[in-house]
Amino acid sequence: MAETLLELSGISKTYPGVRALDDVNLRVCRGEVLGLIGENGAGKSTLMRVLAGVIEPSAGVIRIGGNEHARMTVTEATQCGIAFVHQELNLFENLDVAANVFIGREKLAGGPLKLVDNAEMRARVMPLLERLGADFTPTTLVDNLSIAERQMVEIAKALSIDARVIIMDEPTSSLTISETERLLEVIADLKAHGISVIYISHRLGEIMSCADRVVVLRDGRTVGELARDELSHAAMIRLMIGRDLKALYTPPMRAPEPGGCDITGVVTSAFPDRQINLSVRRGEILGLAGLVGAGRTSLARAVFGVDPLLGGEIRIDNTPVGVASPRDAIRQGIYLVPEDRKKSGLVLELPIRENVTLASLLDHARMWLVNSAAERKIAKDQARRLSIKAPSVDIEAVTLSGGNQQKVVLGKWLSMQPRVMFFDEPTRGIDVGAKSEIYALMRSLADQGVAIVMISSDMEEVIGVSDRVAVMHEGSVSGVLERDQFSEYNVLRLAVGHALETMETAAP
């Protein structure tokens, strides 16, 4: 691992109000997988954007192949063989997969006419998609892809560059375990070909399984480096948050009670020919696992009234409830923390205060006029209770880190009276500290008697947090695991549609 491929030294980056990077040094060797970890807002993405030429550093130099650059442009970075899988998806829904993969560096034909050579680009993208195990084609419109599938397009984009270094900024945040596995295999393959990978993830398990070396950032500074043989969850967490995390998962304080939510024979528009049966008791956290596109989000959306319910019945505490719209669902105490918090969870440009009270505003109003004092109090209470890190509740949600944004979404619901809560990928892209806070919040909600369904693609999380785990496969529930049956192997068997190997198959 001796040969240094590129080196960043003394990189600083100041944003209005934030010192995102402060004199950071980073070295990448040829053919190594460098794990880059840190809390939300530690500066990982900023550092990588500097390297990829997307933003200009305030200070520092980038050294590549003997050349020094004070800054780079996207084109230069690409020429230097740097490929970037962006954390925020930078795709164009109106273009097809191949066009997206080659955007900005199209294959041309027709000489001076600069025509786009679609055939050539499609031919080149096809093998990449196969390598990633994607089941869409180069001509599929990105608009028709799910978030996970879009993430694969981003990865294909990076692979398509004849790269020496591939930066992957949380490439798996939306992927489930099998796609993640695929990706890790691809990374191993890249490494074998002498290509370096900078791998950023909040899923420490992935870092453990692929990184040769881990660099930890905190508050814009490098706080430590771990060699392969020093890697452990505890060590990484200690460096990231500056102390030990006592317990990631909080155990339940009391046993589940009868009642809760029963979903019988529910049919969603994603799988019009499948029925879903599921029940979650009060005080219990039901993990809902499955592969990408298994229909978990569709179920949550249908129960929450966003999508039409094509059939079946939803009962809460044995009383049937009608949910024709989210408004109905909310009235019944069914809340959803959506998968895409920026798109569906928050109005990013509104202040925290207004986001927290958005759903319950009428309760803080007299004669339809907002009672600002009451509103502010609610928001402040939630901010304190959820320890939302923000100078005040009047700042716009867009300025918060992902974890804090997620907490604002939670605050919105917790200021009301939940009976059944769906969390769809509640910790996506969230650092380990914030994760543990959110787990603790979910647990305390359950302990208050709320029935909780946690949709998650993070296997550790599913097994660590849930009281029971239901697994979906192609639009229906393929089995439910009790705590003593929890294992990744069992979850996976159900997720791909196999029965459990043991005799006591999904009993309840």
């Binding site: 948050i241 102390r243 989210p326 909310i330 006029l369 919105k412 806070e437």
Partner: protein, 347 residues
């Protein structure tokens, strides 16, 4: 929020001061009242347009609504001798209904606001022209509705009623938009409709209501314009007034992308447009240059405002950097340390 409005206000003040210095007649009482009257006339429907723009939509049909509702209104009063309160009511209901139809098409049938209201523009204008066979409608001897005429075009202590009405309306809508639950919803829907829906807001209703309000205000404006001109020519009455309204709203800080804007801004935007037109006449600038002056002033005004705001934002950012930089570091540690216990006692 208020900075945008302040900039606009300053622009207005500067323009007025310069014009007044060149020709004192500009600041004469009569002229100010004339302007107030026009601001009242144009401000009312600009407010409705503003609400629609805040939802992220657009209403292109206003001018044609004036024509259709105007000819119907005059016909009700003159040909059918309907008592004026009833005629007034019918016209208001007509405006609300047209707005409601547009709102329905946009929210329920998911059509683009631009298309729906463009069709509205064409259909209402056509209907007005067909209904009257292209002939101008007016009050023969003007006494069919003298009470209403006095209300709509009269004044109180010299101040035109239209202006007084605009002020009252602006206050009411200001409370609605900036203080009420509905207003909050309107901004939320304009910024991010999906998130609003996920928060249990009936977004269709919120958006449709904006179109209904805009339609209703178009009804009110119709009556005011009818008594301003005392006649309605179906092919030209209100022609392209929607562009004035959109320009006023956009000048006043509404973004066509939705979710931005304020009542005060819209009123100031309307005022700016009217002042610009007035000063061309007052200064004796060749009338043909009217448009050019208006365009130039708007362009320069917006540009200046933008540069000023950018500079202010940069300054504010630097200031906040100095303030927050040291804090963020240790605060995270403290909080995370305190967490497990706190999370526990939520039970």
């Amino acid at each position: 929020m208020m900075k945008k409005e302040l900039g606009l206000f300053l622009l207005l003040a500067v323009i007025s001061a310069i014009t007044g210095a060149i020709n004192p007649a500009f600041l004469s009482f009569v002229n100010l009242l004339n302007m107030a009257n026009l601001i009242g006339l144009f401000g009312v429907f600009a407010l409705g347009e503003g609400l629609v723009i805040i939802t992220g939509g657009i209403d292109l049909s206003l001018g044609s609504m004036f024509a259709l509702l105007g000819v119907v209104f005059i016909d009700l009063l003159t040909t059918y001798q309907v008592p004026w309160p009833l005629a007034l009511l019918l016209v208001l209901m007509g405006g609300l209904a047209l707005g409601g139809i547009q709102g329905f098409l946009i929210t329920r049938l998911k059509m683009q606001p631009f298309i729906v209201t463009l069709c509205g523009l064409l259909i209402y204008r056509g209907a007005a022209r067909y209904y009257t066979s292209d002939s101008t409608r007016g009050f023969g001897y003007g006494d069919e509705a003298s009470t209403l005429s006095n209300i709509a075009s009269g004044n109180i202590g010299g101040i035109p009623n239209t202006f007084i009405f605009l002020i009252i309306l602006a206050l009411v809508l200001g409370v609605l938009l900036h203080r009420s639950v509905y207003g909050r919803w309107l901004y939320a829907v304009g910024k991010n409709e999906e998130a609003a829906r996920f928060s249990g807001i009936n977004t269709n209703l919120v958006i449709a209501t904006a179109y209904v309000i805009s339609g209703g205000l178009a009804g009110v404006s119709t009556v005011m314009f009818v008594f301003y001109t005392n006649s309605v020519s179906p092919s030209s009455f209100g022609n392209f007034y929607e562009l004035y309204a959109i320009a006023a709203a956009v000048l006043g800080g509404c973004s066509l992308r939705g979710g931005e804007g304020s009542i005060l801004g819209i009123v100031l935007g309307t005022a700016l447009l009217q002042v610009l037109q007035n000063l061309v006449n007052i200064l004796g600038i060749p009338n043909s240059l009217n448009f050019a002056v208006m365009g130039t002033v708007i362009l320069i005004g917006v540009l200046a405002d933008q540069q000023l705001q950018a500079r202010r934002r940069r300054k504010a950012a630097l200031a906040s950097l100095a303030r927050t930089a040291p804090k963020s570091k240790d605060s995270t540690i403290l909080q995370s340390a305190a967490l497990p216990t706190r999370a526990g006692d939520q039970a």
